[in-house]
């Protein structure tokens, strides 16, 4: 078991050496976090996780891009209804090819104000992901060029991935199914 761990570690060192990333990890992270006042690093063991105020999402996207995170890999959301005081959480994944590093940014979004700044001006690739979050959770992205439903039909009522959107709320068209 111990040998395995040592092997993994040496492989990681070799990887870092091969990728000529001259900046140590914490410098990169500091460059992301420093310009944003509300940013707080909350986990670094396996994943680097940063928590920000929802108003600062656009700001941390800019600072992440300037710090060398070329790609915004993923934008999604979680509904913590009944688990946490603030109901939603927007989750953004940035990736840096030059530093070979990922950063995950979390921002809590309360139920009564589900508008967050859009990342599309900084990372155009978040366009589809933000539309998906809007479609599934009803979280609006301010500044998004085309915030419409993407997976569900345009006239759909409700947001399917919210916890209170119950499975089976839409009647099924099999008549026999109800005659048990």
């Amino acid at each position: 078991m111990g040998d395995d761990v040592a092997e993994v570690e040496s492989a990681e060192e070799a990887r870092h050496a091969g990728l000529e990333s001259d900046l140590p990890e914490d410098t990169v992270l500091r460059a992301v976090v420093e310009p944003v006042e509300s940013a707080e690093v909350i986990g670094t063991e396996s994943d680097v996780v940063v928590r920000v105020d929802k108003a600062d999402l656009a700001a941390i996207a800019v600072s992440a891009r300037d710090a060398g995170f070329e790609m915004c890999v993923d934008v999604t959301a979680v509904d913590y209804k009944g688990k946490r005081r603030t109901r939603f959480e927007v989750v953004v994944n940035f990736m840096s090819h030059q530093h070979n590093q990922r950063i995950r940014v979390l921002a809590s979004v309360p139920e009564d104000d589900t508008t967050v700044p859009s990342l599309v001006p900084t990372y155009p690739g978040t366009n589809f992901f933000e539309r998906e979050v809007y479609d599934m959770f009803g979280i609006s992205f301010e500044g998004h060029p085309d915030l419409t439903r993407i997976l569900m039909p345009d006239d759909w009522v409700g947001y399917p991935l919210r916890k209170d959107f119950s499975v089976g709320a839409v009647p099924v068209q099999f008549k026999e199914a109800n005659q048990v």
């Binding site: 396996s46 890999v73 979680v78 155009p124 085309d146 993407i150 997976l151």
Partner: protein
């Protein structure tokens, strides 16, 4: 009479367009966006358009029209619909419209236990089901924090790399078919059959395997697997020579693919595009090298990159990746460690079959694991693997129960579709199918 044209249903070309022309037809809206500012148009046409085709400025306005391609078009690889704004033969703008295959898998995942989750995710990207299972399993294992026996890792690498070959075979085959090279389509599917037969022998199914599960793999490799794998590797290697004869220097193929569907590295990064499309721009980004998983770093392989950012280079990258995957498969087969194929952590893995016959406790344990599932500690985790289409990520949030609070899949095809407007804007409509095929979108992965 000419004064009445505002109320007339007729419109004369060259005159000002009345409102009803752009408002809508029974085929849908005749504008593509609510907000059609110049900035929006620039964005839709890509941050920097580099393409082969120069548009003739003399195209008249009345040649501009919006045409729907799909969702039933044969070369959209499923139910993809593209709204194309055409000026004569030139594609001015493209808007992908998706959702026709949306089945709510992320919602369904919230009511399936972590053990059942594999049956769900394997149906997303149906051409690379094992990668989906691997990604999901790695995420669950990271949350539970269990170690896997080396044989489980090796089997996973063997199976996913074979899956990469079969997926790239389909990609190359259908890419050829869309452009009119029908022989490669027959050849590609013929060799894919070899791999699917091996999958069937190992997992019981040709697709949707649910073979890679949290804790290891569902079953050991079948008897005589060494010979099967050796035969697959040998036959696909020799078939690859045929593919090279068919396409590599084929002047029609090169004419249809070279300089077509260009997307630069900067655009790929901005739009979150990964996989062969990114590597065809000269990047050597491959998660198997940069953020390795399942011990894939111990095998010797190269990352294949292109230079010209076009459809031809994407095809070359896929051919190269197949050969590299076969190299990995060979190495795994030659160094397959012995031992168990499933972790012996009884919290996650059911007891072995023989124990159930001997022990009542084992039977109860078996029953409990398959009905209630196992509990996963509270936390959130994001794990990514290199699927044939790019970065496949799985984000799982657990609240400490036996089902995830949220399971999100970062689908590579979903993100890669955003490349279409960049690739196709200001190019010929005949090149559209080549561009779509070179992205290799799987609609199950896009819509989930």
């Amino acid at each position: 009479m000419a004064d009445e044209k505002t109320t007339s249903d007729l419109w004369v070309a060259g005159t000002e367009e009345p409102d009803w022309i752009v408002a809508g037809t029974d085929e849908g809206a005749q504008v593509m966006d609510r907000d059609e500012t110049e900035g929006r148009l620039t964005e839709q046409r890509g941050t920097r358009v580099v393409d082969d085709f120069v548009i003739d400025d003399s195209v008249a306005d009345d040649e501009r029209m919006i045409v729907n391609m799909g969702p039933q078009h044969p070369s959209t690889h499923g139910v993809l619909r593209l709204s194309l704004e055409l000026e004569g033969e030139t594609v001015r703008r493209v808007k992908p419209i998706i959702g026709y295959l949306h089945t709510g898998m992320e919602k369904m995942a919230e009511s399936l236990t972590f053990l059942q989750g594999g049956t769900n995710v394997t149906r997303m990207d149906y051409l690379a089901p094992l990668h989906n299972e691997l990604c999901f399993s790695l995420a669950v294992e990271k949350l539970v924090n269990i170690e896997l026996p080396p044989r489980a890792h090796a089997i996973r690498v063997l199976m996913t790399e074979l899956n990469r070959v079969s997926s790239h075979l389909v990609a190359t085959a259908t890419n050829g078919m869309d452009i009119g090279a029908l022989s490669i389509m027959m050849y590609g599917f013929r060799e894919r059959e070899l791999i699917l037969q091996f999958f069937e022998k190992t997992t019981g199914l040709r697709m949707n395997h649910n073979y890679i599960r949290p804790g290891g793999v569902a079953a050991d490799l079948p008897e005589g697997w060494e010979d099967d794998v050796a035969e697959i590797v040998a036959r696909i290697r020799s078939a690859m020579d045929d593919y090279e004869d068919l396409l590599k220097e084929n002047s029609i193929w090169k004419g249809r693919t070279q300089g077509v569907g260009i997307i630069t590295k900067a655009e790929c990064l901005a739009y979150g595009i990964t996989g062969p499309t990114l590597r065809a721009t000269g990047s050597d980004w491959d998660l198997r090298k940069s953020q390795p998983y399942s011990g894939i770093e111990q095998y010797d392989f190269d990352v294949i990159s292109g230079t010209n950012c076009d459809v031809y280079d994407r095809y070359r990258v896929r051919i190269g990746e197949m050969l590299e995957s076969l190299r990995i498969v060979e190495q795994v087969a030659n160094s397959m460690p012995g031992g168990d194929y499933m972790t012996d952590d009884r919290k996650v893995a059911p007891p072995p079959r023989r124990r159930i016959n001997e022990s009542m406790e084992a039977l109860i344990h078996h029953f409990k694991i398959y009905t209630e599932g196992f509990r996963v500690p509270e936390g959130e985790v994001y794990v990514a693997v290199e699927s044939p289409r790019g970065e496949l990520g799985c984000y799982i949030v657990s609240d400490g129960g036996s089902t995830p609070l949220r399971m999100h899949t970062r689908a590579p095809s979903f993100a890669n579709l955003q490349a279409l407007p960049v690739m196709m804007a200001d190019s010929l409509i005949a090149d559209a199918v080549a561009s779509i095929a070179s992205l290799d979108p799987v609609m199950g992965d896009v819509d989930r």
